[in-house]
């Protein structure tokens, strides 16, 4: 999330609710959702990349969840259940071979996209539904914690340190 916007407390709740809908949609839509990561994907960006069905790492790809180092609890990311605990608990960045599904350039990303087109749509959609069972309930249960972690006095003070 944009840090300046994160400091806007009035936006915290609508942003959190919209983010919840986006995460649920990515994991339940019958479409295949791929992410192609070039350069850094940090925090919510890393969450978005990994919420997709498949991630392809491009040049300089790096993923990190630095929230814990900033006094923030990455509640939704935990709820996605797609990120190894060691990453969330350390905040340390990892390179693609350690996490993403595949490494390669944009050409590979397009090849993978074409492969998804070959899949039988109903089986694909049904499998996604099964894999995402309970996701909405998990994220809704974590919504208050997600908002509180962004709006707590401690988190706001910590975030302000990085703005000044």
């Amino acid at each position: 999330m944009d840090l300046q916007e994160t400091l806007n407390l009035q936006l915290a709740e609508p942003v959190a609710k919209a983010l919840l809908e986006l995460y649920v949609l990515l994991q339940t839509t019958p479409k295949a959702c791929l992410s192609y990561v070039e350069g850094g994907a940090y925090g919510g960006g890393a969450g978005l990349a990994l919420a997709c069905d498949f991630s392809i790492a491009g040049r300089g790809a790096q993923i990190a969840f630095p929230e814990i180092q900033k006094g923030i609890i990455p509640a939704f990311i935990v709820g996605l259940q797609k990120v190894p605990p060691a990453l969330l608990l350390s905040g340390r960045p990892v390179k693609p071979s350690q996490l993403l599904n595949a490494s390669g350039g944009e050409t590979l990303a397009l090849t993978v996209a074409e492969q998804f087109l070959q899949m039988e749509p109903h089986a694909f959609a049904a499998t996604k539904q099964l894999l995402s069972q309970g996701l909405r309930a998990r994220l809704e249960a974590l919504l208050p914690l997600h908002i509180a972690s962004k709006t707590s006095v401690e988190a706001q003070q910590c975030l302000k340190l990085f703005l000044n």
Partner: protein
């Protein structure tokens, strides 16, 4: 903010196009992604950043330890 680029039949690239903010998510961008996923007829969506990075969750005025 979100650029929708058809690549070929049934594949669309959803490009996070906010490079001055390191493509950071805000309410408008999240809503644009939701709308594209709900309404675009393509069967495969490729999420991609712009400006040489995917998406930086936090914007730092000073150097981040990850910069």
């Amino acid at each position: 903010m979100l650029t929708i680029e058809p690549i070929q039949n049934n594949i669309v690239r959803l490009r996070l196009n906010r490079p001055d903010k390191k493509n950071a998510l805000n309410l408008e961008l999240i809503q644009a992604l939701i709308e594209a996923l709900q309404t675009h007829p393509a069967r495969v969506c490729l999420l991609q950043g712009s400006g040489g990075f995917f998406l930086r969750g936090w914007i730092f005025k000073k150097h981040s330890i990850y910069s």
